[in-house]
């Protein structure tokens, strides 16, 4: 393993964002950290000093120059002093790494927990808003993703989907190469069709795309769950930073007042839920790590309009927290992009999203795997789900 120290000074602000984004300086980067007030990079191959320094210069200029006010928690549920170690470790035999970092296979009890958490978000949250259930594909057309501005704001996260060209010579050639090896076969130049589909990075994008050009008669709440993809390079080694994850969302479309009111209701519901489950953590304002040169303008805009909150759950014994949900306001960004109107005005939108794998990690590390030893509120909700699950007709999802 190679280590290199950058000569670029560590800025006073934006350190976490720079550290995160530095994973994209080169494909060989495996770890980035600060030591003795200097940037350090560990990489699978020796990287040129100039490449590393140029990368840090760009990232520190982009993220280090923005001084946002300190994050003030809206709600805090502090862990008891005695909770200094995980109640249970995440068992790699049941939350099993699969291939590259960030991909996992979940087995019981984690697979059960995922179904429980999904159900409880519907029971505790979606139901209260009368949210209608919709089913979305896990891929999204690239032109729809372009309208969300995701291509320009988060290029580092993109996962492209393609297929071999409809050309018998290409198919024969590819199959012949595959027969000649037991290893992977890379397509050659020109063999892939142009990208028409992308792995969807966020459940709610389908909701807006499906309403393109619509004149909605009234405010609307929708709920959906999809498997989402985000490529985060070496950051996938951070606990809970999955490449593919399950995102249950409740999506609000309507007037600005409606979306703001539902946000306030969501905030209160999150506080009640975290308290009932003794899910220790903080409800904090947050910023998206916009990857482009307009980070400062976007970050200030997002902060001033309180567009993003996250519930960051404590991971006992690690000194770290993990965002298990986020509440987002988008103003009229998607209403404008997809020409969705309510009462003649461009629709405002908002969403409440739960990362179910992250929730499983946080609950297990805080309270363990034995429901009998869980906090009362969590135990009661779990029993409610078990009862509902038992009523489900056999063979039904």
């Amino acid at each position: 393993m190679n280590r290199i120290r950058s000569s670029v000074p560590v800025p006073a602000h934006g350190r976490d964002l720079v550290r995160y984004a530095a994973a994209y300086i080169h494909p060989a980067v495996e770890r980035v950290w600060i030591e003795d007030e200097a940037w350090w990079v560990e990489s699978a191959e020796l990287l040129p000093q100039t490449l590393v320094d140029e990368g840090f210069e760009l990232l520190c200029r982009r993220f280090g120059s923005v001084e946002l006010p300190p994050l003030v928690p809206r709600f805090t549920l502090a862990p008891p002093a005695g909770l200094t170690a995980p109640a249970a470790e995440i068992d790699p035999a049941r939350f099993q790494p699969s291939g590259p970092p960030g991909l996992f296979i979940l087995r019981t009890p984690y697979s059960d927990l995922m179904r429980f958490f999904d159900w409880i978000t519907l029971w505790r949250f979606a139901r209260a808003f009368g949210a209608r259930d919709e089913l979305y594909p896990n891929v999204i057309p690239i032109e729809q993703l372009a309208l969300t501005q995701h291509l320009r704001a988060f290029p580092e996260h993109l996962h492209f989907v393609s297929h071999l060209s409809e050309d018998l010579r290409v198919l024969e050639s590819f199959a012949a190469r595959a027969r000649a090896t037991t290893g992977p076969v890379q397509p050659e130049a020109g063999e892939l069709a142009p990208v028409a589909l992308m792995h969807n990075p966020s459940t709610c994008y389908h909701c807006y795309a499906a309403r393109r050009g619509a004149q909605l008669p009234d405010n609307e709440a929708v709920t959906a769950v999809t498997r989402c993809h985000r490529y985060e390079s070496a950051n996938h080694s951070d606990p809970g930073r999955l490449m593919e994850f399950t995102l249950r969302e409740i999506i609000f479309i309507g007037s600005a007042d409606y979306v703001r009111e539902t946000r306030e209701t969501c905030m209160k519901m999150i506080e009640d839920w975290a308290t009932a489950w003794s899910l220790y953590g903080e409800l904090l304002p947050a910023n998206d790590p916009f990857f482009t040169d307009d980070y400062e303008a976007k970050a200030v805009h997002q902060h001033r309009l309180a567009m993003k909150y996250e519930y960051r759950a404590v991971l006992p014994g690690t000194g770290r927290t993990l965002a298990v949900l986020s509440s987002n306001l988008h103003a009229a960004t998607f209403g404008k992009a997809f020409d969705i109107r309510v009462g003649g005005m461009r629709a405002n939108t908002g969403c409440l999203g739960f990362g179910l794998e992250r929730l499983a990690i946080a609950v297990v590390m805080q309270h363990g795997l034995d429901p009998a030893r869980w906090p009362e509120g969590l135990r009661r909700d779990y029993a409610l789900w078990q009862a509902a699950d038992a009523l489900r007709p056999s063979g039904q999802p």
Partner: protein, 84 residues
């Protein structure tokens, strides 16, 4: 004067973004942020427009608060500048 400034600002916003041009809901008293008529970059461009057109510096103004979220409020802020 105030009506002329309002009309001028509305014209600027229609030119700023093609999707604003034909929108009948873009009026002097609509909330520009809620309505999606202006974003973080639009604010910067609006400040530059007002500076070059009226010689008024609104860079210290808070476009996220109260009447400054509306064209009518911005026009009033321009009119309130000393010497105007």
């Amino acid at each position: 004067m105030a009506q002329a400034v309002v009309a001028d600002l509305l014209d600027f916003l229609r030119r700023l973004d093609p999707s604003n041009a034909e929108d009948p809901m873009l009026t002097a008293d609509v909330d520009l942020i809620d309505g999606g008529y202006i974003d973080s970059f639009g604010m910067v461009e609006l400040i530059e427009f007002v500076r070059s057109r009226y010689g008024v510096d609104l860079s210290g103004a808070d476009f996220y608060e109260g009447q400054m979220r509306k064209v009518s409020g911005i026009a009033a802020a321009i009119a309130a500048q000393p010497g105007r």
